[in-house]
């Protein structure tokens, strides 16, 4: 059971008192522990010195080392607020220490291939013996059963495999969607939802459990009514470009400048009338062809040309502002630069820069805002593997200095 260990006057973090042993790596997995860490859980990220996390190898910080961009800023972003230790799980002493960590944890998570934790002796049945109410999450891409259980996968591939690119794009064009959306979207958020629900259940009943998230299935669950349209109507959806069945105009419209665009989405009659007012009620807006939503959908390509004629004379920022002042949904199609200049983004502090031993590093700030127990990013992820070995081994696991030194000799922390 969680404890309320508030000191008087100290702001409570909402997940205070929960400890997570985080065996994940790369991207989708670390985001799970990050949700916990940013809201006050003590998350201990276990790394390997022999199999270095991909995110440590990507060019990162603004400073250069030997003429190259310093690496690892993605890692320090994905793992901010976590403590970092190194363990060699294939070493007997390393494995023993991993089990001692589990014994004092509430949650264990990994995103290795199916069965890996079982094979090295850290499977759920084993962990349950050490900590009966442990909650364990594994994220094998295709699950631990079925003909594809040994398969590996990766974000951009999962996106294509669950059909997202088959329903995104302009008619007649090949799939031009090439993004790792599952790694930041469905997979870490679903896993976090499942873990939090399991923690609430444990608070109520005292019972832990094993949770499996097959990332392929998790990502497919974001594909919405597409499945029902097929199973009920036998329809394979066609490509719709930027249009939507229940809105018109609805799209991305060219604005003045090089590759500048504004998105506009008109759903209701009220919004259509406001839209017409904003563009000065030209005669065509009262044309029979555009008088109702079904009419506007039928003549959508003509409509889009007329809208573009108006937007292309103005900046994307002006189009957004004029539309929004009239309560018409509109937004600049923001580049990475636009995002960082956006007054709303600044005001809500979605990005912060934090100190790093080699200079400054970029960090995505929290996006879920709480009125009473706001989370806070306190520090970057471990700058080097094993940065917090001494603290975790001594203060959390109660190891003596001699024992730790022996661990180094035996290669437990490689």
């Amino acid at each position: 059971m969680q404890k309320d260990n508030r000191e008087s006057g100290k702001q409570r973090m909402p997940l205070e008192g929960i400890r997570v042993a985080d065996f994940t790596w790369v991207q989708a997995g670390p985001w799970v522990g990050r949700y916990f860490a940013n809201y006050g859980a003590e998350v201990i990220r276990v790394e390997s010195n022999t199999k270095v996390d991909w995110a440590r190898n990507v060019p990162g910080g603004k400073t250069t080392v030997n003429g190259r961009l310093r690496k690892g800023a993605l890692f320090t972003n994905f793992n901010c607020d976590k403590l970092g230790i190194t363990l060699n799980l294939k070493n007997a002493k390393g494995l023993e220490i991993a089990k001692r960590l589990v014994a004092v944890s509430d949650v264990v998570c990994d995103n290795f291939s199916a069965g890996y934790m079982d094979r090295i002796g850290l499977g759920y049945d084993e962990l349950k013996k050490i900590k009966p109410d442990i909650i364990m999450l594994s994220m094998p891409v295709f699950g631990s059963t079925g003909p594809r259980k040994r398969y590996a996968g990766y974000g951009t591939g999962i996106q294509a495999a669950v059909g997202l690119s088959s329903i995104s794009g302009f008619p007649g064009r090949p799939p031009g969607v090439n993004i790792a959306l599952p790694d930041m979207g469905p997979n870490p958020t679903h896993a976090t939802v499942a873990l939090l629900a399991a923690l609430h259940y444990r608070n109520r009943t005292g019972k832990g459990q094993f949770i499996e998230e097959a990332q392929f299935e998790s990502s497919l669950s974001w594909m919405g009514p597409m499945v029902l349209d097929y199973t009920a109507n036998n329809r394979v959806p066609s490509l719709q470009g930027n249009s939507l069945s229940h809105a018109a105009p609805h799209g991305v419209y060219r604005c003045s400048g090089n590759d500048r665009w504004c998105a506009i989405a008109v759903f209701s009659e009220e919004q259509w009338n406001a839209f017409a007012r904003v563009i000065g009620n030209p005669a065509w807006t009262s044309d029979q062809r555009f008088s109702t939503l079904p009419q506007r959908k039928e003549h959508e390509s003509d409509l889009d040309k007329l809208v573009t004629a108006w937007t292309s004379e103005r900046t994307a920022e002006d189009v957004m502002r004029l539309m929004q002042e009239a309560k018409v949904p509109a937004g600049v199609v923001a580049t990475g630069q636009d995002v960082l200049m956006d007054e709303q983004v600044k005001s809500r502090e979605y990005y912060i820069e934090l100190e790093h031993p080699d200079g400054t590093a970029f960090c995505e700030n929290i996006v879920i805002k709480f009125s009473h127990t706001p989370g806070k990013i306190r520090r970057l992820g471990p700058a080097t593997p094993g940065q917090d070995n001494e603290y975790v081994f001594q203060e959390i696991l109660g190891m003596t200095e001699d024992e730790i030194n022996m661990g180094y000799v035996e290669g437990a922390f490689d």
Binding site: G146, T189, I211
Partner: protein, 434 residues
């Protein structure tokens, strides 16, 4: 061992009031499918989302929206006009019994109607209010209006999707709404765990733009780092290499050329006599850049003798094009499934580009019984739905009931649970409150 049916759900002790529009429906679906008692509060006549397609057998009836069906599983429905005083009194009664309330009204709407967080808190201090809006409750754009498209646009992802010569191209299946909703569910449950300890509720503020930023990959980050921003790259990912290729029966996405899989891929092609001249010295440097410049590097950069940081693929456009052509002619001799299986056996990064038909026929999903049947007695048949995003061993995910009809549970909730009299309900009905 207990049967699946008799097992407990994780959130059976949690009641959720669902006042959400399109952007928040997935949040309450997540909670409902984990066992929460979700009461959907619709305006008399039914929720606007009931008019969103696709429709069952293309019948444009508000009780036949497949869009509504999908996002409203495991929920009950009552009709209530919360803009009337009587409606607000009834809502207050429900708030007393609720743990979580999810809403997507414009900032200030609830407060103007006497139901802002401060008022709700007086009725039930344990209540967790989750608000999902386009831009959040604070900031200069708090009152701006949004949609899924606007969320992806202002969140920085949309600009990077599609081909350089096309307009930025949006994603299907409302990904920005899914992102906002999933984060809202995370927020609701974090607040619930906090309440498990402190007994206090609170207000959770989710912005569609804010959560969509998380989907924009490294677009803002890249700008911060090197002062340039990511552009639309069509069939290519980051590396200046093509990722999407046609094959015998469709397409595959293959990132092998950008990493350690490239060598394995050449071995595979060679074993089938299709490697052409790619083993020639002429291509050695390009292959080395490809394997050495691995974005997903597993130490490949240490294996190559070349300094891949200084050699760039862009300096070898003809060689790259040729390699891609040879590669494509090999892929064209196999089906998606053959390539998928063969790539997995060899440790090559390749996955099929599926559509909904191939997904519904996928052997892996079938073996794991991913898709689930949900009974629709009013249609006289069962429909097949997407299944569990996660599998909890002790407290299984499940669709406990199909989406409700308009006000289907008015009697059950108003009379049997809140104890309102039949006469009162009749008068509220004629006053168009319910």
């Amino acid at each position: 061992m207990k049967t699946e049916e008799s097992r407990d759900s994780a959130l059976t002790d949690v009641r959720v009031l669902d006042l959400a529009g399109e952007s928040g429906l997935y949040c309450t679906k997540l909670l409902g499918d984990l066992g929460a008692d979700v009461i959907k509060i619709e305006p008399p006549g039914g929720d606007a989302v009931r008019r969103v397609g696709p429709f069952y057998h293309d019948d444009l009836d508000p009780e036949r929206s497949l869009h509504f069906y999908h996002f409203n599983t495991s929920k009950r429905s009552i009709t209530l006009n919360i803009e009337t005083e009587e409606g607000r009194d009834i809502l207050a009664k429900l708030v007393k019994t609720a743990d979580i309330m999810v809403e997507t009204f414009a900032p200030g709407y609830l407060a103007e109607n006497g139901m802002g967080y401060e008022e709700l808190k007086k009725i039930n201090p344990r209540l967790i209010l989750v608000s999902i809006t386009g831009f959040g409750q604070t900031g200069p754009h708090a009152n701006y209006v949004s949609s899924d498209l606007i969320g992806l646009a202002t969140g920085g992802l949309l600009y990077t999707i599609g081909f350089p010569d096309d307009p930025p191209t949006t994603l299907g299946a409302s990904q920005a709404y899914h992102m906002a909703s999933s984060n809202a569910a995370v927020g609701a449950l974090i607040a619930l765990l906090n309440r498990d300890v402190t007994g206090e509720g609170q207000w959770v503020d989710i912005a569609i733009q804010g959560t969509a930023l998380r989907l924009s990959e490294m677009a803002p980050y890249t700008y911060w780092l090197v002062g340039s921003y990511r552009k639309r790259s069509g069939l290519e990912y980051y590396r200046g290499l093509r990722d999407v290729f046609p094959c015998k029966d469709g397409r595959v996405i293959c990132s092998a050329l950008g990493g350690s899989g490239a060598g394995k891929m050449l071995d595979w092609m060679e074993s089938e006599g299709m490697v052409a001249d790619l083993r020639d010295d002429k291509y050695a440097i390009v292959m080395a850049i490809m394997t050495g410049g691995s974005f997903y590097g597993k130490g490949d950069q240490n294996k190559t003798r070349l300094d891949v940081a200084s050699a760039k693929l862009q300096d070898f456009p003809e060689e790259v094009r040729h390699i891609e052509e040879v590669w494509e002619s090999f892929l064209m001799t196999h089906t998606r499934e053959e390539l998928f299986v063969g790539a997995q056996e060899r440790g090559v990064r390749l996955m099929p580009v599926n559509d909904v038909k191939s997904l519904c026929e996928d052997i892996g999903l079938k073996a794991r019984k991913y898709f689930v049947q949900v009974d629709h007695h009013e249609l006289g048949e069962s429909l097949v739905y997407p299944g569990p995003p996660y599998r909890l061993g002790e407290t299984p995910w499940k669709i406990s009931r199909r989406a409700p009809l308009i006000g289907e549970h008015n009697k059950e909730i108003y009379q049997d649970e809140l104890g309102l009299s039949e006469e009162l309900l009749e008068s509220l009905k004629s006053a168009n409150v319910i």
